[in-house]
Amino acid sequence: MSTPVIEVENLNLTYGDFHAVKDLTFEVRPGELYALLGTNGAGKTSTLETIEGHRTPTSGTVRVFGHSPGDRKAVRPRMGIMLQESGFSPDLTVRESVGLIGTLTRRTDDVDRVIDVVDLTRKAGTQVGQLSGGEKRRLDFATAVYGTPELIFLDEPTTGLDIQSRDDLWNAVDRLRENGSTVVLTTHYLEEAQQRADRIGLMHQGVFHHEGTVAELTRTLPSVIRFTLGGPAPALPVQAIVGADGSVLVETFGLQKDLALLLGWAENHGVELRDLSAGPTRLDDVFRAIES
């Protein structure tokens, strides 16, 4: 088995009396997209910033490419970081900003090529202070992927982006992954993590509530069938919660079987299942289950 890109062992982070991260242990393998998710205040930003080298662990060890994340000369040329907040000087242009950060990463690339990847070529000579929020996120992404690093941290990468820009960003991430880059992602858009992550670490109150593939996480909760009855109907063939307005919610671990039963029942009794939807448990449902 290949050596992990990131190894976190018994990580603890405290701020005064507040224990933000408690004995966290996990690893990120080469080439995978690992999503670090969590409820607000779960400790994911603290964890991420410790791996990036912005914070020092209270106890425990963090290794990136086998080095301490604080060893910038060894680690940073191999990793690109997209911060959650802008962090650019408003008086510098897009080209100057990408050139500066790119130079300081010690990676080599063509500044104009990177700017083109994030579709900011027309803004290359514009000062950062005049960019929109979405354009700043794209600039941030440009500095993170400058020189095609082996490891990329994406902290809320699509916040503030329109749909086209999101698609473009994910296409760029896909190309980086095809080249072997490892990606660590945090996001509030759970459907993005569900669609793209190989594995997910789901944090709650400083510890992992779940860790594994999306399928492993959602397997613990039932799939859902929803529809509305237009009027009186005979007894349903499956267990369900029926609302006063005729809405029906079926939670099942046998989605295909129960859906077939319901469709057959509706056909036989001439019942219309309005607004019918059926699907596996989403990460949103896992989050709601944790928070409740």
Partner: protein
């Protein structure tokens, strides 16, 4: 370091407010002192004029602009951004401080050359150069320390006042009254020993060994300021 310094220089010249308040006004004040050198040399001495122009540039051109720059770069997370790269902390700070330092040195040198052309050359130019370099080092140290307790560029307008006005006041006190009385107190105050060094270098009349020992209090201030900065300096805004 030099990539950071280059972009800092670009930003200085793009930000007219910083350019005027930190670099044009100190030169204008210094020009006034040279223009009225007959009055100020009677109040103090020619060495006093040299000391006051040096501290005017050091306090307003170097110290204040450095504190404001560091607070601004911290507030907009530019420092955090720079720390996300392979550059060391020392390299980042050096790059941020270098342009203002070079500009201050060029300004002081130019102003003192003009003063020499107007009133005559200093008694010991080499000693004067040492005094200028020691003062610049002290002002940078004090700037790093002050940046540690400064939350924003707006806050810098308040936090820089004690040191910037203080060193000007000390330079004026020492330059006008000399060090016959309260010599130890004056030399231990920030800028006091450096002012006396400039007076000795420009006016002459003091043994070189007596002058060089005046470097000790100045470098002691550098040590104190850097020690304070190491404890207090934050790379990210306080949350």
């Amino acid at each position: 370091m030099f990539a950071i310094a280059r972009t800092e220089l670009i930003q200085i010249f793009r930000n007219r407010l910083v350019l005027v308040t930190s670099f044009v006004i100190p030169v204008a004040i210094s020009a006034f002192f040279i223009y009225r050198h007959d009055v100020f040399s009677q109040v103090g001495s020619l060495g006093y004029i040299a000391a006051i122009v040096m501290f005017t540039v050091g306090a307003f051109g170097l110290y204040t602009s450095t504190v404001t720059t560091l607070a601004s770069r911290r507030q907009n997370l530019f420092l955090k951004r720079l720390r996300s790269t392979a550059e060391s902390d020392a390299g980042i700070l050096a790059g941020l401080v270098l342009p203002a330092t070079v500009i201050a040195l060029v300004q002081v040198t130019g102003i003192l050359i003009v003063l020499s052309a107007v009133v005559g050359t200093p008694d010991n130019p080499l000693l004067l150069a040492v005094a200028v370099i020691a003062t610049v080092a002290m002002m940078i140290g004090l700037a790093l320390a002050t940046a540690g307790v400064t939350n924003s560029p707006e806050h810098a307008q308040v936090t820089t006042l004690p040191v910037s006005l203080g060193v000007i006041a000390v330079a004026s006190w020492v330059g006008i009254t000399g060090t016959e009385e309260l010599a130890q107190v004056k030399r231990l105050l920030p800028g006091g020993a450096a002012t006396e060094l400039v007076l000795n270098a420009w006016n002459g009349g003091a043994a070189l060994s007596d002058s060089l020992i005046l470097l000790a209090p100045t470098f002691a201030w550098v040590f104190v300021a850097v020690t304070f900065a190491r404890r207090m300096f934050n790379w990210e805004p306080r949350r």
